[in-house]
Amino acid sequence: MTSTTADDGTAEADTDTDAETDETDTLTLVEAVRDALYTELSLDERVMILGEDVGENGGVFRATAELVDEFSAERVVDTPLAESGIVGTGIGLALSGLRPVAELQFMGFSYPAFDQLVSHAARLRSRSHGQYSVPMVIRMPYGGGIRAPEHHSESKEAFFVHEPGLKVAVPSSPADAKGLLIAAIRDPDPVVFLEPKLIYRAFREDVPTAAYEVPLGEASVRREGADVTVYTWGAMIQPTLIAADNVAGEAGIDVEVVDLRTLSPLDTETIVESFERTGRAVIAHEAPKTAGVGAEIAATIQEEALLYQEAPIRRVTGYDVPMPLHELEEYYLPQAIRIEEAIRETVSF
C-alpha cells in the first residue's frame, strides 16, 4: 500500500503519512470507511459529505458517526430525502471545485439518482472533451444477509459497471475499505463505492492510521492456489475462503481466491494471470446471474486465455429472481456449500 498525494488540497498529508506509517487501529469495515472519510475531511478542505441522516444521526450504519461534530454541518450535510437531488447537487458541487462524497442510504434507493449518475456524472468529462469532470464519490451499502426488509438487500453492481465513465469499487476488508475509499475520493472521476454491509462489523483488522490509497483497478489475490481460481468480491469473499478451506481438507483441491476489489475498470491482467496458472475458474457473486459481472469476467477469460482453459467456467450467483425476503436469503446467496460444489465440478471435469 502506497501513500500518494492527491491534488493541491492534500499536499501536506504526505509528511504526516510518512511520520506515522507504522501506527495502526483495529477497525471493522464500517469503522474503516468512517476513518477514510475522517482522514480526507481533515486533509482536504474541499471534501464534503452529503446524504440522508449522515449528520447528527451519523448515518444509519454509523459510517459518518460524529463527523458533523468534528467538522461542521456545512461539510457533513443532512440533505432532504431525495437521491436525485443528492447526486445532482453533488455533480454541481464537484463542478464548482469541491469534492463531494454522497451517501445513498441503500443501493436499493439509488435508482432515483440513476439519471444523474449515468447521463451526467459518467459523461460530463467526455461530453466536454475533458473540460469538465466530476470528481465525486457515491457511497452505498449493498448486499444481503442481514435480514433486512425488501429493497435493502440487493446487489445491482452491474447497473453501474455497465456505464462507461463510472468507476466501481467494492472493498472486502477494513484495510481495503479505507485505502480504496481514499483513492476514490482523490480520483478525478466519479466512483461508485459499494459497501458490503453483511461484513460491516463481521471482523476487525489492523488498519494504518495514516492516509494511504489502495489503487483503483487492482485486484488482489486473497489466497494462492494452483488448481482453480475463484473470482469474487465484497461479502462473498468470506464464504469463498471457507469453501476453499473445506475443499482443501476434503478433496485436496488447491484454490486461489481473487478479490476483484474494483469492478470497473476490471483488472484484466490479474484475472488472466491467475487463470493461466490454474486453468479453471469459478465466479461467485450475490447479484442475479444473467448479465452479472461474472459474465464479463468469464468472457474476458475466454477472450484472453482460451488455450489455458481446462474446464467450463462456473458461476455461483444469486438467482434470476427478485431478492427474496430474509426467510429465504440463505438459499439465494452463494453459500460456501454452493461454491464448494462448483469448485468440485470444475476440478473433476
Binding site: E56, N57, A82, F109, P149, D320, L328, E330, Y332
Partner: protein, 382 residues
C-alpha cells in the same frame, strides 16, 4: 413542531378548508370544540374505530417486543399515528384503493388485510404481501414516494374507464415530499384531474431529519397550491377530524362540484412517538421532551375520553374490547410463527410463466438441497 398555544394553532371547524390552521374537532382532552361538527358516525362505528385504534397500539407494542426477542425483523412503529391511519381507512369505501407505506399497518388492516399478513413479511415470508382477492390494497411501498404517481395513475385509470367513483388514497411521509415522485404524482393528478386523495403523514421526522430541515415551505399543505389542487392541514392526532376531512376529500374526488378539482393533499399533522424503526435510536438526534409534549394529545386517549363522556364506552365494554384484542393478537402471532416458506417459492410469480433458464436454476437448487440438506445453507450467515 411547537405545541404551545394550541387554541391559536388549531382551527375549530372541519369545513375551514384552505386555512393554515390544522382542523381539529376533539380537543386534546377529548371534548368537542365549540363550533366543531362531529362526523356522522353511529355509536357502534365509533366503538369499532376505537377498538381498531387500540388494536393498532397493542399490535405496535407486541411487534416491538417480538423484534427485541429476535422473533421478527425490523419493524416500523406507528404509535401516535394510528388514530389517523384508522380514521382515513374508515373514510374509504370498500372499493377505493389504498396505497400504504411500510408504516401504515393499521390503515391496511382496517381496509381488509389480515393481522397475519401484516406480520408475515416481518418474519421474512413474501406471501404476507399477498392481499386477499378483491381487497383493493397495494403491497406496502418502501422506496420513498414511489407510490405517489402510481396512485395518481390508478385513479386516472378508474376515471378513464368510466369509474371516477372509485378513488385512490395514497399515504406518504413528510420526507417523501422531497422526492421528485411527489412533484410528478401531484402534478399529474392536477393536470388530469383524477379522483385521488394524498395523505401526507407529517410525523415531523424523516428518520433523523426534522420537518423544518426537509423543506423551506411553511406547511406541507401549501405545496398543493403549486399543482392547482386543494391542500388541507388536519390535526392528525384527532381521529374524528381526520375522518371528517378525509371523507370530504374522497367525496370531492368522486363527485366534485363544478369548480372543484378532484385531488386533495391532506397534511396530517402528527408525531412519531417512537423510533423510525426498531433499528433506529432516536436519542441520537431528538429530545424526548418533544415527544412527550405530543403524547399529551394522544389519539387513543382523546377518543376514549370522548366516548366515555358521551356514555358510549364503559369499563365493561372496554374489558371486552381488550379481551378480543389480546386473543386476536395472540392467534396472529402464533399462526405466523408456525409459517414456513418453501425455497422453491422464490422462483414463483417472477413471470406469468417460468422461463426455462429459471426452471433450471430452481431445479439445481432443489438438487443441492437434496444432496446436502437444508442445514448446509445456513453456514455463512451465522
Amino acid at each position: 413542531m411547537s405545541t404551545q398555544n394550541d387554541a391559536e394553532q388549531y382551527g375549530h371547524s372541519a369545513t375551514t378548508y384552505g386555512d393554515d390552521k390544522p382542523i381539529r374537532i376533539l380537543d386534546t382532552d377529548g371534548t368537542v370544540l365549540p363550533d366543531a361538527e362531529v362526523p356522522d358516525l353511529s355509536a357502534d362505528e365509533l366503538v369499532s374505530m376505537y377498538e381498531d385504534i387500540k388494536l393498532a397500539r397493542r399490535f405496535d407494542q407486541r411487534a416491538i417486543s417480538l423484534q427485541r426477542q429476535g422473533r421478527i425483523a425490523t419493524y416500523a412503529p406507528m404509535t401516535g399515528q394510528e388514530g389517523a391511519q384508522v380514521a382515513t381507512s374508515y373514510a374509504l369505501d370498500d372499493q377505493d384503493w389504498l396505497f400504504p407505506t411500510y408504516r401504515e399497518h393499521a390503515a391496511k388492516y382496517v381496509h381488509g388485510m389480515e393481522l397475519e399478513s401484516l406480520l408475515k413479511p416481518l418474519c421474512g415470508h413474501r406471501d404476507g404481501y399477498a392481499i386477499p382477492d378483491g381487497v383493493p390494497i397495494m403491497p406496502e411501498y418502501i422506496p420513498i414516494a414511489t407510490q405517489i404517481p402510481q396512485a395518481t395513475g390508478m385513479a386516472w385509470g378508474n376515471r378513464l374507464q368510466g369509474n371516477p367513483e372509485r378513488a385512490a388514497l395514497c399515504h406518504f411521509g413528510d420526507g417523501a415530499t422531497s422526492e421528485g415522485d411527489f412533484h410528478e404524482g401531484l402534478n399529474f393528478a392536477g393536470v388530469f384531474d383524477v379522483p385521488v386523495v394524498f395523505v401526507c403523514n407529517n410525523n415531523q421526522w424523516a428518520i433523523s431529519v426534522p420537518r423544518d430541515h426537509q423543506t423551506a415551505s411553511e406547511t406541507i399543505a401549501q405545496k398543493a397550491a403549486a399543482y392547482g389542487i386543494e391542500g388541507i392541514r388536519v390535526d392528525g392526532l384527532d381521529p374524528l377530524a381526520m375522518y371528517s376531512v378525509t371523507s370530504a376529500a374522497l367525496q370531492k374526488a368522486k363527485n366534485p362540484a363544478e369548480d372543484d378539482r378532484r385531488p386533495t393533499l391532506i397534511e396530517s399533522v402528527q408525531y412519531r412517538y417512537g423510533a423510525h424503526t426498531t433499528a433506529d435510536d432516536p436519542s441520537a438526534y431528538r429530545d424526548e421532551d418533544e415527544a412527550n409534549a405530543w403524547r399529551e394529545k394522544d389519539p387513543l386517549d382523546r377518543l376514549q375520553n370522548y366516548l366515555t363522556a358521551t356514555d358510549i364506552l364503559d369499563d365493561e365494554l372496554e374489558a371486552e374490547i381488550d379481551d378480543r384484542i389480546e386473543s386476536r393478537l395472540t392467534d396472529a402471532v402464533e399462526t405466523v410463527e408456525n409459517a414456513t416458506t418453501d425455497p422453491d417459492s422464490m422462483f414463483d410469480h417472477v413471470y406469468a410463466e417460468l422461463p426455462d433458464r429459471l426452471r433450471n436454476q430452481r431445479d439445481r437448487l432443489r438438487a443441492l438441497r437434496e444432496k446436502y440438506g437444508d442445514d448446509a445453507f445456513s453456514e455463512v450467515l451465522e
